[in-house]
């Protein structure tokens, strides 16, 4: 509300309206920015699929029992600490500029699309690992005791008893992280990937009008809303179930 009032009353509001909210430029930039937005969607889909699998793997490593698995557990801890600690923008630069700089055969000859996606995967896997881990730890120890008492191995217990319950519980927070990932696909434009933000930037440079940024923003919001509502619905459904079970 306040922002709206300020935007209308501010001395420069006339100018901002022309430069950011021009109907003419909105229509004109919608096409090219959409073109870029398709790249965002591609990055998002690839990254989310890889993150789902990779993060689960790391979370499982972190839960391995016994002293023999200590190096693997330590590796998982270091990974999550490091990649949750580094700002995504730095990871994008380090991966996007560093890997090509190594001049290796396969590693250094990928497209900026690939490097950008790898950077997103590295950072978001660290977050999602923690989400999975919270889910795994929320499964009561008595469930593990019951499974192990049947003679199931650690892995069988994880596979059939712990993980199915854990994953179900973490779907809402996991989708929340994915909303973050969707937005952060715009950061790979820093490497020169011509996605929607970059298209809007190019448009601005050509026509001296920033409406393309607003177009890109609208696309992102339109993509986020269904996912956010779906997350809400899942949470409500879980609450209903829990109440039904308690009653």
């Amino acid at each position: 509300m306040l922002v709206g009032v300020l935007a209308v009353l501010a001395p420069g509001s006339q100018k901002v309206q022309q430069v950011f909210f021009s109907p003419h430029h909105f229509a004109k930039s919608a096409g090219p920015v959409w073109h870029g937005f398709v790249i965002n969607i591609k990055i998002m889909v690839v990254a989310e699929i890889v993150v789902l699998v990779l993060a689960l793997g790391i979370a499982i490593l972190r839960g391995l029992p016994g002293p023999a698995a200590f190096p693997l557990r330590a590796l998982a801890v270091v990974y999550t600490d490091v990649f949750r600690g580094i700002p995504l923008i730095l990871v994008v630069f380090i991966v996007g500029l560093g890997l090509p700089g190594l001049q290796l055969r396969f590693v250094s000859t990928q497209s900026v699309f690939v490097y950008g996606t790898i950077a997103l995967i590295l950072v978001y896997s660290a977050y999602v690992t923690e989400v999975y881990r919270a889910g795994i730890e929320s499964v009561h120890a008595s469930q593990v005791a019951a499974a192990r008492s049947l003679g199931l191995t650690h892995w069988q217990t994880q596979r059939h008893v712990v993980l199915p319950q854990a994953v179900r519980r973490v779907i809402p927070p996991l989708l929340n992280d994915f909303i973050g990932l969707q937005k952060d696909t715009a950061l790979v434009s820093l490497l020169g990937v011509v996605e929607s933000a970059r298209e809007a930037q190019d448009y601005a440079a050509t026509y001296f009008n920033f409406t393309g940024y607003v177009v890109a923003a609208v696309y992102f919001v339109l993509l986020t809303i269904p996912l956010a509502r779906f997350t809400d619905w899942l949470i409500r459904r879980d609450q209903r179930k829990t109440r039904a079970a308690a009653g």
Binding site: S142, Q143, A145, A146, A147, R148, S149, L150, G151, L152, T153, Q156, H160, V161, P164, Q165, R168, A244, A245
Partner: protein, 248 residues
């Protein structure tokens, strides 16, 4: 005949806190032994040690002629021979009743799904749960859940069953059904060690009753003798309190 279960000098400590202070107990095949005693006397811990859920601090446990506390023993193989039923049922909430029951046979014993289902249905029929086979645990009453948990343990065809206060979490009107199941098991010759607060039931079903206090078996014997003429003052005191509470 060799013992189904033998404990020799079993001790268990959590840090400085000694929960089991040297337990000696031998259970013959087909024998039903009831463990009685106040909460915290070590009954549950004893059962958890036999199932290797809790490692013993010292002492030996022998099941069916095999020392299970030996170094390097395959705990999964041992546990498949021993069924345990918990106070809180611990059914798997994301699986139907029949999947709860067949998980162990299918994954730990490698039985095919069809055969595991057939065996499970037979057991469910026998324990009056046939029509609940496709329900999820949260749709069952506490008594039904506990019976399903007993069937889950039985599906592994164990040599020995451990029951850990299996009626303590149940509403009073549901206790009877579960005790009936245990009675049937005893009659079918199952070797059982039962930790219980149901003194009337223990007197009824046990071949032998052991009174635990502070991690030691203070007194043991046939139920008639333990309940009617206990010798140890602690046993007398415990039973007196139970009597006053109207639980005997």
């Amino acid at each position: 005949m060799s013992d189904a279960l033998a404990l020799e000098g079993v001790r268990k400590s959590y840090g400085a806190n000694e929960v089991l202070g040297g337990i000696d107990l031998a259970v013959a095949p087909h024998e039903v032994v009831c463990l009685i005693g106040a909460s915290g006397s070590g009954k549950s811990t004893l059962l958890k040690c036999v199932n290797l859920i809790e490692p013993v601090t010292s002492g030996r446990i022998v099941v069916d002629g095999e020392e299970i506390t030996a170094r390097g023993v395959d705990v999964n193989r041992i546990r498949r021979k021993i069924g345990i039923v918990f106070q809180a049922f611990n059914l798997f909430p994301h699986m139907t009743v029949i999947d709860n029951i067949t998980l162990g046979p299918r994954k730990a014993l490698g039985v095919g799904r069809a055969e595991a289902n057939r065996a499970a249905e037979e057991l469910l029929e026998r324990f009056g749960l046939a029509e609940k086979r496709l329900e999820y645990p949260d749709r069952l009453s506490g008594g039904q859940q506990q019976r399903a948990a007993i069937v889950r343990a039985l599906a592994m065809k164990p040599k020995l069953m451990l029951l850990d206060e299996v009626t303590s979490a149940l509403d009073p009107e549901l206790v009877g059904g579960v005790l009936e199941v245990i009675r049937e098991l005893a009659e079918s010759g199952m070797t059982m060690v039962i930790a219980t607060h149901e003194m009337g039931f223990a007197r009824d079903i046990a071949n032998r009753v052991c009174f635990l206090d502070a991690g030691l078996i203070l007194e043991e014997g046939p139920p008639a003798r333990i309940f009617e003429s206990p010798e140890n003052p602690r046993t007398q005191q415990f039973l007196q309190r139970i009597l006053e509470a109207g639980r005997l």
